[in-house]
Symmetry: C2
Subunit: 106 residues, 2 copies
């Protein structure tokens, strides 16, 4: 493993800026099943409140991981989907989750 302390640290710190918040990982994982509307997403991410889901979606869009699409109506439809960058994150996130579930006592 090549260690490049400064670059690695800065990159990890940027990742943890938003991944460190609860629900971010679950939202991204849930979006692997395809684009969905807000209400459906809220239903699938069991236990999240609408306001927290809304906040997280804004953050994930800001980081370029989630794309919000507005389809002209009527009725107007808004859907959320993973960007290519968001899709690329999922294997690492899955690996990290598996490690945490195994190695960090709950």
């Amino acid at each position: 493993m090549v260690v490049e302390p400064t670059a690695c640290d800065a990159a990890l710190a940027r990742a943890f800026d938003f991944l460190g918040k609860r629900w971010s990982g679950v939202i991204l994982a849930t979006l692997t099943h395809g684009a969905v509307g807000f209400a459906e997403l809220a239903r699938r991410v069991e236990g999240i409140s609408d306001s927290v889901l809304s906040d997280r979606l804004v953050e994930l869009q800001g980081a370029g991981l989630v794309i919000r699409s507005v389809e002209p109506g009527p009725p107007v439809g808004v859907t959320y989907a993973l960007s290519p960058s968001g899709s690329a994150l999922l294997p690492a996130l899955q690996e990290l989750t598996t490690w945490a579930a195994t190695n960090l006592p709950g």
Copy 2:
């Protein structure tokens, strides 16, 4: 990918409790090269202060990722090394770092 929202979220949240802090990832990565003493570790993790390194090592020991060994002297020697759990984390951490370096603008 199987989504288990509650379990995944709790596991990720625990991981991010300490991984989200700056330097944690770099310290773990640096320890892949083998057990080292504090001064040598401080030298290798370029830019970290002694007090921050000390704090992080305590946290990483508390999470069971780093093992602190005292070798009876004289002189007494203290070394830090990855635990099996800490070693198991590195592939995921490396993957996440690579993703962040590619996908999150610096």
